[in-house]
Subunit: 243 residues, 2 copies
DNA sequence: TCAAAAGTGTTAACCATACACCCATGC
DNA sequence: GCATGGGTGTATGGTTAACACTTTTGA
């Protein structure tokens, strides 16, 4: 190979912070696997592994995710690259971290894939994690907390059809703040990026809520025309008023 | 070493997109170096190089930046990791890209350091670039365009003391949109994150403008108390009003 | 005295917030 | 009929957008 350099080389891995959300629970969930091999055998860890020499890094993330959890067709974005020299006892390992968002329907699949032990954990009740995975996870959390307010990524955590209250709970969960129902509805509906369906919740022991669908095409059209998505924490007047 | 794995390993490099800004010019600038060695000998490229086995990745970025451009004490943040298998003719090279923001005063230093050829280029008049550096640079541009509106990173591109018109020009340049002078001043001054100085511009052939300084400590205090920095593109009512 | 940029205030439209009750459904 | 969540409107105040002239300074 021409121009080949012969420096010593670090290993390169990928790690995935897989977030999931469930209407009924007050917490965001993360998918973890229990390690089958040393180091950190039996310890919980983010799904991930070594990048092959001939595959793009993102492909490696998708491949490892499927191999270890059975998940395919997920929303995946690069998060951050962690490369401190001592983060892995095997030597110099640089890890490119990704975060994934998946809708509850897919969650079954993940739990079923039991080559290794795979579990959803609430982000507020995490076990000890291998390597620097706690730091990676925390970075992922910060990222989606920051991003959810000005990019419509929240919909990736919901099923295709969802009631407005589900969307509101999602935002309340991620932002860790209560939101006003009427204002939330007004704001999101006024954006015009939700399609109102003629379908309703099933099997609920109260009035069934109307379902909506995120209209991605319309959203992208509007962005081209200068639209900014923004769904922020609603602070009270008290908090906002200065001095 | 225990648990050592013996996979084939990619090389890992860092690349830095160094942005600079100058009052007088209507464009953002990027610092490029002319490559002294193959591959892409004599081609312009982002400063960068191989990560040593025992240094953190960010340290490598700072080190390469100093070695190749003489710059130290810069604002530096990780941008994105580029790892497509064919981005480097030498073989598999994964590059962790950073972006840096530097104030005009430092620019002299950079131009003086002439181990290699180092030059500022307007982001709108770039030469052909080595490797996938054009993609990296474009990614950096998108990042600061997105980030400048809701994080006070713009100040990193200005000297310590600056007139409000300089700040406004910076925002107009990065966001590529004209801003209303009175509204801009009102908004930024109302935030309370600028310290008004008793100093004025020197050597200008018109009324000298008052200088201000970004009060970082105050900003951080306010963030703790729930303050959100936001300095967005000001759209006209026309554009905003729908249908 | 001219050129060049600094600096300054008001109005009207819009948007965000606060807030409480009735409705539909299943049990 | 009761419990559960679904669904709705209005008044207030704060924020943003639009807009033009006077001041200062140096050449």
């Amino acid at each position: 190979m021409p121009y080949t350099y012969e420096y010593p080389r670090p290993s390169v891995t990928v790690d995935c912070v897989v977030f999931g959300f469930d209407d009924k629970e007050p917490d965001l969930k993360v998918l973890l696997i229990q390690r089958a091999a040393e180091p950190f055998k039996d310890c919980w860890a983010l799904p991930g592994g070594f990048v092959d020499m001939d595959e793009p890094v993102e492909t490696a993330a998708l491949r490892e995710l499927e191999e270890e959890t059975g998940l395919t067709d997920v929303f995946l974005e690069q998060l951050y690259t962690f490369g401190n020299p001592n983060r892995d006892p095997r030597g110099r390992v640089i890890s490119v971290a990704y975060y994934a968002l998946i809708a509850p329907a897919d969650k079954q699949i993940a739990a079923a894939s039991d080559a290794q032990n795979v579990h959803w954990f609430s982000v507020n009740q995490l076990p000890p994690l291998a390597f620097d995975h706690h730091l990676i996870l925390e970075t992922g959390l910060q990222r989606i907390r920051g991003k959810v307010s000005y990019q419509p990524i929240g919909f990736e955590l919901l099923p295709e059809k969802f009631p407005l209250s589900g969307l509101q709970k999602l935002y309340e969960t991620i932002l860790e703040t209560p939101l006003d129902k009427r204002n939330f509805r007004k704001k999101i509906l006024n954006m015009g990026i939700l399609k109102e369906l003629d379908e309703f919740q099933q099997d609920v022991s109260h009035r069934a809520a109307r379902l909506y669908r995120f209209d991605k095409a319309k959203y992208e059209q509007m962005v081209k025309e200068g639209f900014y998505f923004e769904l922020k924490e609603q602070r009270t007047r008290e908090t906002k008023r200065k001095k």
